[in-house]
Amino acid sequence: MTDFHENNENEMTAVQQETLQEEAVQAAPVRQESENKAELDSAENLMKEKDIKTVSRKQTAMKVLVQIGLYVFLGIMALIVLFPFYWMLISSVKTLDEYNAVVPTLWPQQFKWENYAAAFTGDLDLGTLLLNTILVGVVSTLLSLIITVLSAYAFARLEFRGKNALFAALLATMMIPGELFTITNYVTVAEFGWLSNWAGIFTTLVVPFLVSVFYIYLLRQNFMQIPNELYLAAKVDGTSDLKYLWRVMVPLAAPTLVSITILKMMGAWNSYIWPRLVAKGTIDLVTVGLRGAAFTDLATGLTDFPAQMAAVLLVTLPLLLVFLFFRKYIMRGVSRSGIKG
């Protein structure tokens, strides 16, 4: 695209240099005008104010009111959005007695940090859960990235018979709800004998979700934006396809790959249905362990909410931190997908 544009310009300058220069001279002030539009607008307003002072005063008053209204509305909504996080935070350090008090306190009177320790030592055993989840997440992300890069490259750069038909077929599978696959996949992994030992169950947690058509699609779009001239130049230099892919394509598509990595890791962190079905009690992942753990004292029927909230906070915090650091990448991936993980 850029090359084409440049060529065009060169031709034009050759022919119409003079006229262009003239135009440029005329256009320069116009451009400045549009840049300083705000100033000019206010200048215009000033002139108008002299003519119709009262009307403009009313208008500015209206504007201020609307702005205040907007901030009030957004403020209330933000409070509603934030309140569950706040409640989780303060509850996690309260003592059980304080939490159960008739009038709930909005700031803990006494900090009980032992709630966090309890998450690692008690019934929940968060340490093991974290280790399992990180292991599954890292392995599946790495393998998934390799498969996605290879497939996206084939669809973006290589020519083969039936390419478009195959790609369309892959996209069509995205419409089918995942639950439909789960039924058969559960039977399949059982028939493969994967559910009988630790390594098999680990494979079960990783393999069925390695290929994401959406990620292939996303990366293919990105690869296709890389100009073909680079590929041809590399070919002339005698670079192999794989080397070109690794040295040129992958670095250029790095932002998309980061998005995919983060979304995939978040997926492992949040996955519940499949791990509960195939790996409950053997390789428990965080979400499964968190929901399965009992925080209720059977004798009194009292739920230890502070301990529960401490555990919930420990599970939620990594996600929030990742989001704050990789905001851009997450939002980029999310806005195009509509899916979680």
């Binding site: 609307v66 702005q67 907007l70 509305f73 957004l74 959005v81 934030l82 569950p84 996080f85 989780m88 159960n100 008739v102 009038v103 709930p104 290879l150 497939s151 490259y153 084939a154 669809f155 290589l158 083969f160 390419k163 892959l170 599978t173 419409m175 089918i176 709800p177 995942g178 639950e179 439909l180 696959f181 789960t182 039924i183 058969t184 039977v187 399949t188 028939e191 393999v207 069925p208 390695l210 290929v211 949040n270 519940y272 249905i273 968190l290 929901r291 009194t300 029927g301 009292l302 739920t303 909410f305 919930v312 599970v315 939620t316 996600l319 929030l320 989001f323 999310v334 509509g338 979680k340």
Partner: protein, 379 residues
């Protein structure tokens, strides 16, 4: 001979080596060309033995040329090599399940374990009929429908208002954007547990609780009456209300993100023109913002419906795996929950039938959505 007449120049060039053939033998000039000419002449002479001619041509290929031919052959299949890992996994875990789900749904109470044991199953529509007559299934279906039909419009409207508000402020806009995105990067089950804690009345006995909980305290502070939201003895309406609040809270970020992205793409000239014409804010919102955003609105509504019909983990987050308050297990169950129950009880036939019904519903609703949005979406 006739060729020579039709195109003298071309034939002259082509025939050149052949013409040189006779003197080449004698003069032994141009050895390479002469050799080739002789060989081709031999091939023509021994016309019936065509392989002979080919055999003679082979040694002419240099190793480099050979490499090119092999590379060309390899290149033709290279793409498939790159796609191989993806295609194998897709075949086993995506394509086969599609086929197999349809197969299992037509085998009455199909159980894979029994099938391996050699059991046979009646072929027919029994699974579908049984599922439809199942009272639990109807509860799941109505729950799913209700949740979707209520939460999608509510969250879309709210998200639209927030997005427009965000788009018209400058101060602390980025901070606000981050805050409104936070619910997205959370674990649906973990935060569900927080909502449960907030709505819960505290104490073993709900009729005489130690504390009425934070939400009820807030309600009473505003002059309302405390409600048993999620504990034993709570009403289904109250349960539903909590679920709706939680699902909307959870659905907002994605919708705000998409709509805000759309708003930033709207050409400012439309608004300026409307201002010049003295249009009211309300009118600008309905006549410019909504129509210009209609593709994004259609997108979030469609994905919202699809997500709504697959609702499951929000309910697990709030009520746990019992899918309902204490004493009313399964009352808030959904379609997806029904499918998992069927898988766990080893009835893959029933699960498949339910999954296909769910797929048909989602597909139909998506088609209706697309049809409506095609009529309504501007430009």
């Amino acid at each position: 001979m006739s060729e020579e007449k039709t195109d003298p120049i071309l034939t002259e060039q082509e025939e050149a080596p052949v013409l040189a053939e006779e003197p080449a033998i004698g003069e032994a000039a141009l050895p390479v060309e002469g050799e080739q000419a002789v060989l081709s002449a031999e091939g023509e002479a021994a016309l019936p033995a065509e392989e002979n001619g080919e055999n003679n041509q082979k040694p002419v290929l240099s190793p480099q040329e050979k490499k090119i031919i092999w590379k060309d052959r390899f290149n033709r299949y290279k793409a498939w090599l790159y796609l191989l890992p993806a295609l194998i996994i897709l075949a086993v875990f995506t394509v086969w399940p599609i086929i197999n789900t349809v197969r299992m749904s037509f085998l009455k109470d199909y159980d894979a374990l029994k099938a391996i044991g050699g059991a046979s199953f009646t072929v027919g529509f029994d699974n579908f009929v049984n599922v439809a007559h199942y009272r639990r299934f109807l509860t799941c279906l109505t729950n799913t429908m209700l949740l979707t039909v209520i939460t999608v419009p509510v969250s879309t409207m709210l998200a639209l208002l927030i997005a427009v508000a965000l788009n018209s402020i400058k101060f602390i806009r980025r901070t606000m954007q981050t805050i409104f995105f936070l619910p997205y990067v959370t674990n649906a089950i973990a935060i569900g547990m927080v909502f449960m804690a907030m709505f819960s009345v505290i104490g073993g006995n709900p009729s005489q609780p130690l504390s009425i909980g934070i939400i009820n305290t807030i309600i009473e502070a505003f002059g309302g009456k405390a409600v048993n939201w999620v504990n034993a003895g709570s009403s289904k309406v109250a349960n539903m209300a909590v679920l709706i609040i939680y699902i909307v809270w959870n659905a907002l970020p994605f919708k705000i993100l998409v709509l805000l992205g759309g708003l930033q793409g709207v050409n400012k000239q439309y608004y300026e023109a409307a201002k010049v014409d003295g249009a009211s804010r309300f009118r600008i919102f309905w006549r410019i913002t909504v129509p210009m955003l209609s593709p994004m609105i259609a997108y979030v509504v469609i994905t919202g419906f699809i997500g709504g019909f697959k609702e499951y983990s929000s309910i697990v987050g709030i009520f746990g795996e019992s899918m309902g308050p204490v004493g009313a297990d399964g009352r808030m169950n959904t379609m997806v929950g029904f499918i998992y129950d069927a898988i766990e009880s080893g009835n893959q036939g029933r699960a498949s039938a339910a999954a296909l019904i769910l797929f048909v519903i989602i597909f139909a609703v998506t088609m209706i959505n697309m049809y409506v949005s095609k009529k309504r979406v501007h430009y």
